[in-house]
């Protein structure tokens, strides 16, 4: 039994805690997250890096929800085809969501995972929060 436990420990570091970055509704219902640096990440991450990540995320969501010529054209075209065009075409928002997913994966690989953190894509939490999982510091004990 003990072996099973340590095997599991090696496979997956224990979760120490989770931080939730909330939405910023200052400019309306558009998707924006607060750039306030959570104190729990103080020991792990640079304030500037965190702000950069969140700011880029905010920019990507802003682009997805932008009201402009392109979105109006897409909307009108879709309406004329009784929205059947979405059976074959991806919406602009969906394309941006894929871009955001790639960005988060990239950030996790380069910045967050080496520091024992994990960003969760906000779409998996209903676009309500950016969940940052803080893993236990691996340098303390190996559980072997």
């Amino acid at each position: 039994m003990a072996e099973t436990h340590s095997l599991q420990d090696l496979q997956q570091p224990a979760v120490s805690s989770k931080v939730f970055v909330q939405r910023d509704y200052g400019s309306g219902t558009t998707c924006r997250f607060q750039t306030k640096f959570p104190s729990e990440l103080d020991s792990r991450l640079d304030k500037q890096q965190f702000e950069e990540t969140i700011q880029t995320l905010n920019n990507l969501y802003a682009e997805a929800e932008k009201l402009g010529g392109k979105s109006y054209l897409e909307g009108c075209l879709a309406c004329l085809t009784a929205y059947t065009i979405f059976l074959c075409m991806e919406t602009h928002y969906e394309k941006m969501l894929k871009k955001i997913a790639r960005f988060i994966k990239d950030q996790n690989e380069k910045i967050y995972a080496p520091r024992g953190l994990l960003l969760t894509d906000p779409i998996e939490r209903g676009l309500r929060v950016v969940e940052i999982t803080i893993f236990e510091d691996r340098s303390v004990g190996s559980g072997r």
């Binding site: 436990h5 219902t29 909307g75 919406t91 209903g126 309500r128």
Partner: protein, 395 residues
């Protein structure tokens, strides 16, 4: 006591809380009560069928063949909009998972400070400033989240819906951020269709009466009477509704806000979401970006079902000294259209094992929902699993 774990892959819609019904393996999402929706469908299809059967042949010959063609196009558009409104996710906000709910609770308690015993804690409200207007965000005790602005909890569907407009029994679904434009286009096109059929019914009766006489006309095309009746009553309600929603659209308000009088102007409260420009408001709602569903209904997740095994079980080892891990994972990919959480009848024994199902369960590597030992986020389905397992055993 040992337990055999059966891990099966389920679609996420099967585990969603709330009172929605799902069809086509999660592609279709509706409210539970669908009776009025079937009535709507019946009225539209029935009336149009009568029109195509009785009026169209005469009008195509005596007036123009474009009349039935346009009617067909309009009819198909109405149906498409109705089905799109009824079957799509209105913008349901998923409930908070356990950790998020705990985090929010801790924040609330920190903000409230020490509440003297016997006193009620202050209401859970967050103030946000949007475009120089203070908006209060209320806490939803069911979903355990602070509702975003303009979201509201639908008691019929038991979900928080973003930009909640109203729950419409005629379409059998809530109307919210994602399907408001389809709902509006449905009411608009239905108004046009009703006016169209009504007008051409009258034209047809007049034209035919000139030749044959009024009573003979009614005898030849009895469907006309029924159509005129249906259209007459539909006209007043649907055209009125379209007018009301056009008004709301131009002000960028929801029915919910209108009923509550959120932006009625008293106390100098103004709608912070309005662009103060009718065209821009309409364009944003009707031609704005199409928001994706955040529910991921058809995503796969794992569900662990603890199936207790009596100690005399031959196949799966119950002795603790066995090198084989105690949990055997039989991954069953089951795709069902209904969501029974009762495990299939492949439990090795139907002898009465003890209820200590949760006795020894090592946590499975990774899954969306945490296993039963931790407080599950979707409390009710997990409980149903346990009780249904218990029910199964007692047979």
């Amino acid at each position: 006591m040992s337990a055999v774990m059966i891990t099966r892959k389920v679609r996420k819609w099967e585990k969603l809380p709330g009172k929605n019904t799902f069809c086509c393996d999660g592609r279709v999402m509706m409210a539970r009560q669908k009776g009025v929706f079937y009535l709507t469908l019946f009225l539209i299809v029935g009336t149009c069928s009568l029109f195509f059967a009785f009026e169209c042949p005469y009008l195509a010959v005596h007036l123009s063949p474009t009349i039935p063609v346009f009617a067909i196009v309009l009819f198909l558009f109405v149906l498409a909009m109705l089905l799109r409104t009824s079957f799509s996710d209105p913008g349901v906000l998923p409930r908070a998972l356990q950790e998020e709910a705990t985090f929010i609770e801790m924040e609330i308690e920190a903000a409230n400070g020490n509440v003297p015993a016997g006193q009620r804690p202050p209401p859970r409200i967050r103030n946000v400033q949007i475009n120089n207007q203070i908006v209060k965000l209320k806490y939803c005790y069911t979903c355990k989240i602070f509702r975003p602005p303009r979201a509201s909890h639908c008691s019929i569907c038991d979900n928080c819906v973003d930009r909640f407009d109203h729950h419409c029994p005629w379409v059998g679904n809530c109307v919210g951020k994602r399907n408001y434009r389809y709902f509006y286009l449905f009411t608009l096109s239905l108004s046009l269709l009703t006016i169209y059929i009504f007008t051409f019914d009258i034209v047809h009766v007049v034209m035919r009466s000139v030749d044959n006489g009024f009573l003979n006309t009614l005898k030849e095309t009895p469907g006309t009477v029924l159509e005129v009746l249906v259209c007459f009553f539909t006209l007043w309600s649907v055209v009125g509704l379209t007018g009301f929603h056009t008004y709301l659209l131009s002000l960028n308000q929801t029915t919910n806000e209108d009923i509550k009088g959120s932006w009625s102007g008293k106390n100098r409260v103004q709608n912070p979401y309005s662009h103060k420009n009718i065209i821009k408001n309409c364009c944003e709602v009707l031609c704005g970006p199409t928001y994706p569903s955040v529910l991921d209904r058809r995503g796969l997740t794992q569900e662990d079902l603890p199936v207790p095994v009596a100690s005399a079980a031959p196949s799966s080892s119950s002795s603790s000294s066995s090198p084989v891990p105690q949990t055997t994972h039989a991954v069953l990919c089951l795709q069902k259209t209904k969501a029974p959480l009762i495990p299939n009848k492949r439990t090795p024994d139907d002898a009465k094992p003890s209820i200590a199902a949760s006795a020894q369960k090592s946590p499975s590597p990774k899954e969306e929902n945490p296993p039963a030992p931790k407080a599950p986020p979707l409390a009710s389905p997990e409980m149903d699993v346990e009780t249904s397992i218990n029910k199964d055993k007692t047979h």
